[in-house]
Symmetry: C2
Subunit: 143 residues, 2 copies
């Protein structure tokens, strides 16, 4: 479904959404263990997200990563698109280029409705909303 990389990235931004702010930045070394992601690899992923303005960062002493208010309004799909590439979830289940509604692949009819629903969710749910669920203990983010 998702690559390890995008799972790592989602865990990281959800953690940042919960525990960071512009006034309280988090360094990689301070939370990579909390989300069980390899330290150096997490740094790479966050750099990539930072380049795409999906997380915020500053260098130097007292620097670190955090989510700005704008960052928090991004949908989940934006993280996945940057890390996994934008076609990962939308392409045909059998990766057939010519699959479409008029000439669907054998899996198309049965799976397209639930696939579309999942993608809509990813496009609509924002980090802010999921962070609220975490805060209210309606969901949890164990290592």
């Amino acid at each position: 479904m998702l690559t390890n990389s995008s799972k790592y990235a989602l865990k990281a931004v959800l953690y940042l959404a919960q525990y960071s702010s512009e006034e309280h930045k988090l360094m990689v070394k301070d939370f990579y263990e909390k989300i069980n992601v390899p330290r150096a690899y997490l740094a790479k992923l966050l750099q990539e997200l930072s380049r795409h303005k999906l997380v915020s960062s500053t260098r130097g002493p007292r620097g670190g990563f955090y989510l700005s208010e704008e960052n928090r309004d991004q949908p989940l799909i934006s993280i996945i698109d940057v890390i996994d590439g934008p076609t990962r979830l939308t392409s045909c289940m059998l990766s057939l280029e010519e699959c479409n509604e008029d000439r669907p692949c054998p899996l198309h009819a049965a799976f397209q409705p639930s696939r579309i629903k999942m993608i809509r969710n990813l496009e609509q749910l924002t980090l802010r909303e999921l962070a609220r669920d975490l805060e209210q203990q309606r969901s949890f983010l164990p290592r």
Copy 2:
């Protein structure tokens, strides 16, 4: 969602479901191009499925691969389980071991319904049913 390997495998069994029978076996060299799968790699995948009794084969002249009537009654998930391993689709979206209904991960609530629906489809749809769709031109299997 699925690996290339299981996509290849699904395309192959769907092709065999359409065009092979015990009386009309297909050799790898005769159809790998039809489904756009690397020849030697397709052979490997079919061997693996054969070992698990999901496709039938005989060696020697006039040998090849085909689907028996029993093979045709297998659900799609059995192919995927053999090639990708059985946990690929069922594990948590974030691969959190401790994610469950009582302590769900942040993605759980939004995605579990459509995920379950997809998995049910894979468990219930048989090769025979999808082959029938192909035969009736309700679906298509382009290269």
